[in-house]
Amino acid sequence: MIDLSALYIQRALLEMLLLAVPAGLLGSWIVLRRLAFFTHAVGTVSFPGLVLASAWGISPQLAALSAALGFGAAQERLVRTRRLAADAATGLLLVGALAAGVVLASDVYESGTEVDTLLFGSLIGLSATDLWLTALVAAAAVALDAALRRHWLGTGFEPGSARALGLRPVLADRLLLTGTAAAAVVALDAVGALLVTVVLVVPAATVRLLTDRLVRLQLGAIALAAAEGVGAVALADALNVGAGPALAVLGGALFAAVAGATALRARAVTA
């Protein structure tokens, strides 16, 4: 049974509930705008930054955010000057960052068992600052969604008409990527560098299988991310495993179940 009186459990639960807000609001746009690979890459490229932050004693969030912004700038430059497709540039940078992180962790700083925590997260030892940062990103996600949802909707639906509709597609998309990067950075505590998509993609992708309406998708994704987060903390505490892997197993299993059920239902309807 989960010990709700323990401070680390309280903080872990609060962290997961706060993360559910960007997971539902921004996660829905990540799924609709096909940014899942970008989101995965933003998490992964933070790995070498986290190793350096740990070795040098600097803020991990600052290091991760710097890595994410550097990734965005490098990707744009690669696409612009080398004529690489965006997903190819993302893949290239992702592999490079992972390799650099492994070399730094194993051969330069000999981080040892800490690598597991950096890659897969740990909710033990969350500080009040971590929670405040996540709350700040959650509030920013609400503000961004309120201010830009029409831009994201119109641009995502048919980009060629966006400016004719009075929208600002370039600015709105840059802010979506920035918001996604910030959400990925605060999710690192919970799920680590490799499992950011478990928070920011899987709940929204699961609810997307069940609804054709944006508001229902966002509210459903928030609720599901919160439920999966609480379930993952309980599972991690009971089985003494990391919260990130526990969340990945829960989210993946639920997605598979919903995908299977909707496929069976669709087959029954067409039969």
Binding site: L32, A146, A147, L148, R150, L153, G154, G156, F157, E158, G160, S161, R163, A164, L165, G166, L167, R208, T211, D212, R213, L214, L217
Partner: protein, 246 residues
């Protein structure tokens, strides 16, 4: 009288130092439908981008009565997006709705009226991607109606639509013409263009502009389409053109 669309000596393009379109001169009055003919890559969409203010213009000038509305081809839209027909039409009111406000009640009523006008009042709640190609095209036209623009730019509006939708769209075009709106319709169908008020032929430059009976000669069409042209001699007229692939 307010001008419809006046284009004087337009040249411009995205690539530095290279014009995708040059030397375009024409004037379309309010209440006129202009067919814009040309091969793939001939400058039809580039002209629309220029009229929408999205193309770097190097020479010439444009006169427009406000921001035009643009109706894309339906296959450019994401059919898997979680939006209803009504949601799509409401996008036409985004430009005049502050970000912190809901779309105004009057605009919502106007969106329903626009859907009714294109014969889709009963499909307002239907998911856009679940509609037929012709119905989707009519929804996008309804969105343009909600923009309340005097000038409508329509990219292949009758391409691939079913007969019912084509008839409804053609009737709507006639109504819009009677309201004094100016319509520019990009098309590959020479026969369609012959029914409209003016025809503009483009092949990276203006080949010709004028009344269909004067412009749609086999010589002009050959100059416009080059190798893409398939001329079927029916009653001494060119009636068919090459395919359009995206």
């Amino acid at each position: 009288m307010t001008p419809g669309v006046v284009v004087r000596g337009l040249s411009g393009g995205y690539a530095p130092g290279r014009d995708a379109l040059r030397d375009v001169w024409f004037a379309a009055e309010p209440g006129q439908i202009v067919g814009v003919l040309g091969p793939n890559g001939g400058g039809k969409t580039t002209l629309f981008r220029a009229l929408l203010g999205e193309l770097p213009i190097r020479h010439g000038e444009l006169v427009l009565p406000g921001r035009p509305a643009y109706v894309p081809q339906t296959e450019r839209a994401r059919l898997d997006f979680p939006v209803s027909a009504f949601d799509v039409v409401l996008m036409g009111a985004y430009a005049r709705t502050p970000w912190f406000r809901r779309v105004a009640r009057g605009d919502r009523a106007a969106a329903h009226a626009a859907l009714e006008r294109v014969g889709l009042a009963g499909e307002a709640r239907a998911t856009f991607g679940a509609l037929s190609g012709g119905q989707r095209q009519r929804v996008l036209i309804a969105r343009a109606l909600l923009q309340q623009a005097q000038v409508l730019l329509l990219d292949e509006p009758l391409s691939g639509v079913d007969g019912v939708s084509a008839a409804r769209i053609a009737a709507l075009f006639a109504e819009l013409r009677n309201e004094g709106r100016t319509l520019l319709l990009a098309t590959h169908d020479v026969r369609q263009a012959s029914d409209w008020d003016r025809v503009l032929c483009l092949h990276n430059r203006q080949v010709d502009f004028g009344r269909p009976v004067a412009v749609l000669s086999p010589e002009t069409l050959r100059e416009t389409y080059g190798g893409e042209l398939i001329v079927l001699e029916g009653g001494g007229r060119a009636v068919g053109v090459g395919h359009h692939a995206h």
